[in-house]
Amino acid sequence: MLKVEHLDAHYEDLQVIWDLSLEVSQGELVALIGSNGSGKSTLLRVITGLLPPTQGRLTYKGTLLNNLTPHEIVNLGISMVPENRRVFPKMTVLANLEMGAFPNKAREDKHKSLNKVYEVFPLLRERAQQFAGSLSGGEQQMLAVGRALMSKNEFFLLDEMSLGLGPIIVQNIFEVVIQINKEGISILLVEQNVPVTLRIADRAYILESGRIVKHDKAKKLLNDPYVKGAYLGTSIG
C-alpha cells in the first residue's frame, strides 16, 4: 500500500534521510526502529506531507504523495497519530474525536465511529467533556489514537506512542494497536521501545542516522545479535 522509494530528506538545510526505501503491504504491521535523531519522525513527516522530500518517490496505493498537502494525504486514507499526541488542548475530548472525523467520508459514520472508540477506550467516554489539555499523557495517547480511528482511514502512522508513558499504559496501547491491525488497518509503527515492538510487528526496519541498516521479519530481528546488542539491551520492557 505504502511505498517509499529512495527518499532523501532535509530539515533546514541539514540532510537527515539518505536513500531510504521501505514498503508496507495491506494488513501488515511494520515497525520502524531507531534511536533519537535517527530520522524516524522526519520520515513520518515526509509521508504525511508536513515536510517536502528532497528526492525520491512516495506512493500510496499507486497515487503519488510527493507534492500533496497533509490534508489531501489524510483524505487519501493515511492517518497519523503524531509524536507528542498533539491533541487540541482547549477542546473537549469529544470535540477532539469529532475533529478526527473531519474528512467527508468519515463524517457520515461519526456516531458509529464514536461508539466504537468508546468501546475500545471506555475512559474517553467518561472524560468526554473534559478539556484535552488537562488529560494525563496516557489518556491523551488514547485520545490521539481514538481520533485517528474516527477518520475511518485504513493506514495508520504511529509515531513514538510509548514516549513518556508508564509500562502498563504502554501495554494497553499496544494491545489496542494489535487489535486494530487485526481488524484490517495497515500500520507503520515508529518506536524506540524495541522489545515490545518487535514482538507485535510482522516486519521491521532499523534506521540509523537516516539510513536503513537492517530490514527483516520482526521475529528474526529479535534474535539477531546486532539488534540484541544495540537495541535490546538499551530499553526497558
Partner: protein, 288 residues
Amino acid sequence: MLQTLTYGILNGLLYSIIALGISLVFGVMSYLNIAHGSLIILGSYGSLYLFYFGLDPFISIPILMVSLFLVGIILFKLLYSRFVSLVEGLKIQKSLLVSFGLMLVIEHGATMIWTSDEKSISPFYSGMSFEVFSGFRVPLIGLAGGFLAIIVIIALHLFFSRTYFGKSVIAVSQDPEAASLMGVNVKRAFLISFGLSVCLGAIPSVLIGLQAFSPSVGIEWFNKGIIVVMLGGLGNIYGVFPAGLFLGIVEAISVFFFGAPYREITGLVIFVLVLIVFPNGLFGSIPE
C-alpha cells in the same frame, strides 16, 4: 445615569464587534491587521454610496458583508498569505507592517477620492430615539446596532460550536499541523477566517457610517478595537465582549463625571492601568 450606562453598553457592543474581527485573525493565524479599522471605513463609504442609490444602510449590511468578505480574501491572497509559515514572532511583525502600509494606502487613497471631509449617512430615523420612561431614551440606531451585535455573538458561537468548519477553525488556531493531520485544509481555513474577519466589519461600517466618518478615522477605530482585544486577552475571542462592554461603560462614566473631551483619555488611561495589573488582559485565556 441609566442613560449614560445605556450609551456605554451600546458603544461597548460596537467596540466588541470591531475587536472581534481583529481577535479572530490574531487567534487563528497570529496576524495583527492594523488596517482593520480602515477596511471598516471603506465599508462605510460603500454604505454611503448605496444610500445615495436609495438603499437603507441596515439593508445594505448583507451586501457589505459579501463585498468585505471578498476584499478580505483578495487581500489575504495578495498580501498576507506570503508569510503564513513563519514563526509567530515574525508573523506578528510582518503582518503588522504590511497592514500598516495597507492602512496608509487605504487612508490616503480614500482622501484622494473622497476628500478628508467628514461624512455621515442620515436616513430619516437618524435622530430618533425610543422613550422607555421619562428622561430615559434609547437611540433607535444604537438599539438596532445592539441587536445586531447580539445576533452576531450568537451566530458566531453557533458557527464555532456546531459547524464542522467552525470547529476546524478553532482546531487550526490551537495547532495548525495537527489540524491538517485531521484533514483540515489549513490554508483555506486561514483564507476564509481572514475573509470572515473583514466581513464582520460590515456591521461597524454601517453603525459608524450612521455616526460620522472620514478616512483618517480608521486607525482610531482600530485603536479602540485593539484596546478591547488586549483587555479581553490576546487570542481569546470570547473575551472581547465583556472587555468591549467594560470599555464602553468606563468611557460613558467618565463622560458623565468629567465631560466629553476626556472620554478618550480616560479610556486609554484605564487601558494602560489594567494592562499593568493584568498583563494578559482581564480574562486571560478562557478555553473556548
